[in-house]
Symmetry: C2
Subunit: 405 residues, 2 copies
């Protein structure tokens, strides 16, 4: 595996999404990521549909490039193996409710004793401190409590969810940023630290502009459909065929748009001649522009926009995204190798490096696929020792090509 | 300034949001960030309302902790100053359309000659390569073309925008992750590289689960309101008073919820007894649960949920978020110092470090506030030299306490 984090060792206790996505980003960047899976079934996301044969597409999407290590942590020997592994790690990731790692004897204080260089990353619903810290959150709870739902959707209509799990992935992106900053800092100090990222905090952070507007004016931001609160036009419009996005951020861009649609009069209209005026009169402008845009098919507008240097684009559905020539040219759909499925398509990484490119080649592993390999390579165990652990039910391993998973 | 990136020098050509948010994350982490502002008015985001006195709350929200360096890059001497600054930098950030930095003689190839250790970060709408690379994108274009709009909103209703600028901030989070990975890699290799992050790619990446579902089944994911596509219930429900979020990710959690609402019968109902069944019969279940939840006020449900260990929470508006005791306890609303406004509230950082905490103390700078300081400190210029540059109109500087900005 290539990538800028080559040689970095990560132990991930992540389950479902926030933890696994953090670990996936590190794996994409070239780190060697061991995914700890406990219990008979491993990560509960293995049971989220839709399935490809018997394999969860949900799980396959966010665990590529990792190694699956399956063991029984109810057994003292299981915990002991984890402790031995922790000694050799750079980064540990967990997204349990606060207190769960402590019960295993593996909270940050414990882990630091084993390995003072360890960067220990906790991603949780509400963080390790504060009045809600013991509560559980899933994505939707963070979207709701963090303010996201309150500013997304149509005015006066029921609330909607951001269509992807930004409650989890937002926290994961802040967590991986903090982790890499701590990794860099460690090159000077020689010691690790504990990173505490909460899903709710991360949504509050992403609501920065809505919070800034509220704190500046006392007015509570509301959902406003497909519009931008501060820029007009900056939204989706219907056309004779499909919807499209149209944006004018400056008066110059607005002038070009008026020209492109053959309505130079609008550029000089006092209702629309400045951003402030356009924002104030957005409803009127929206209805005027909608009327104009409805007269021609979307693609005709888009080529006219190209001609007049107007900013806009299609509203692509997921099929169009996956098959888009630009998306393909940017390697945003990749094929990875899976033991049993053969080639599998996954979404690529937006992180493009000129000198140390990410190499994403392996699919998400079957449960326990790398248990024995890790015991041999990382802990130097003999086949006899490994066989004993297997017979005692401490570890769970499977070989490539075997059935089930 | 504290934080894990103490001592790291960043030059940011970022304007509006994607570039400035990348640079802000680095500043929050303790880096010394110089914000280059060109032209009489500087970053065009300084003109986005609402305003606090004459200061843009939009600009204030994403430029805290940076230093403003204002100069004329149309003049050869201006570009020369930039080249001298680049020699001492660790990271350069720009979010122009591809080609703009090259015109200034400051693209990656140029910058690498000046400073082979430089990590040069380009954040753009479509990236440095691919058929759309020369096009301009703003947030909404990326949300539309990257698939986000197609999966957000109510079924059969007009499209909506994610209420915050995830088109920009998503790219910024991937960019800062890549930057820090490259910074770590440089501690071994001693050399920098070019990082290319596109807003559209970043939305495709965040749509990973929708893409995985499409690639597994051939079915195109659609907007489904406030529901989760794979988990039921995992959504917003109305109550007798306010909306609330309710989540059951496992059958066990579902059982607890049925108990909490006094409807144990639902747990054993064949229509709802497994996740697959609940997903298939979500419409019926939604209407049954809505009826139940409408019988009591939200807060009564939430305390009952607490009692029965059911996962849920309120749907907070931005006023409630900013005043939430947990948000306050987590330092997610901070006060920073502004030269002219005095204390100013901003949203905090979700990146919490045990040993090298972020210290966010300074507000966004007035235009040119640090020009002279930077020339003296970073380039060792005398007051005479600086005065000359000012008279020639090469630089633009303002002192704390002076009027305008």
């Amino acid at each position: 595996m290539s990538g800028p984090l080559k040689g970095i060792n990560v132990l991930s206790f992540g389950r479902v999404l926030a933890g696994p996505y953090t670990a996936m980003l590190l794996a994409d960047l070239g780190a060697d990521v061991i995914k700890i899976e406990t219990g008979k079934d491993g990560d509960m996301a293995r049971h989220n549909g839709p399935f490809i044969n018997d394999l969860s597409s949900y799980f396959l999407s966010v665990n590529r490039g990792k190694k699956s290590f399956s063991l029984n942590i109810r057994h003292e020997k299981g915990v002991d193996i984890l402790k031995r592994l922790i000694r050799g790690m750079d980064i540990l990731i967990e997204n349990f409710r606060p207190g769960v790692m402590k019960k295993m004897g593996l909270d940050y204080e414990d882990a630091k004793e084993l390995n003072p260089r360890l960067i220990y990353v906790s991603v949780s619903g509400f963080g390790q401190s504060g009045p809600y810290s013991s509560k559980t959150a899933f994505d939707m709870v963070a979207q709701g409590m963090g303010g996201t739902v309150s500013i997304t959707g149509e005015p006066g209509r029921p609330p909607v969810r951001v269509g992807y799990s930004i409650g989890d992935m937002g926290a994961a992106l802040f967590a991986v940023t903090a982790t890499l900053a701590a990794l860099y800092e460690r090159t000077g100090s020689g010691i690790g630290q504990h990173i505490d990222v909460a899903m709710m905090d991360s949504q509050v952070a992403l609501c920065e502009n809505a919070c800034a507007r509220y704190m500046a004016t006392g007015q509570i931001p509301k959902p406003i459909g497909a519009r931008h609160p501060l820029v007009t036009p900056f939204q989706v419009f219907p056309t004779k065929t499909d919807d499209m996005v149209v944006v004018a951020f400056t008066d110059e861009q607005w002038g070009k748009m008026c020209e492109a649609v053959g309505r130079k009069d609008l550029a000089n209209d006092v209702r629309y001649h400045s951003m402030r005026a356009r924002n104030e009169n957005h409803a009127e402008l929206e209805s005027t522009l909608s009327e104009v845009f409805r007269t021609l098919p979307r693609d005709e507008w888009l080529s006219r926009f190209e001609e007049f240097d107007v900013i806009g684009g299609p509203v692509n559905n997921i099929e169009q995204v996956v098959n888009d020539p630009h998306v393909k040219a940017r390697d945003m759909v990749l094929e990875v190798a899976h033991d049993r499925l053969g080639k599998l398509k996954v979404v690529g990484t937006p992180m493009k490096f000129s000198r140390t490119p990410c190499e994403i080649t392996n699919a998400s592993p079957d449960l326990g696929r790398h248990t024995e390999e890790i015991l041999a390579e990382k802990l130097g165990m003999s086949q006899d020792e490994i066989g004993e652990l297997r017979e005692e039910g401490i570890i769970n391993s499977r070989q490539p090509g075997s059935k089930g998973g």
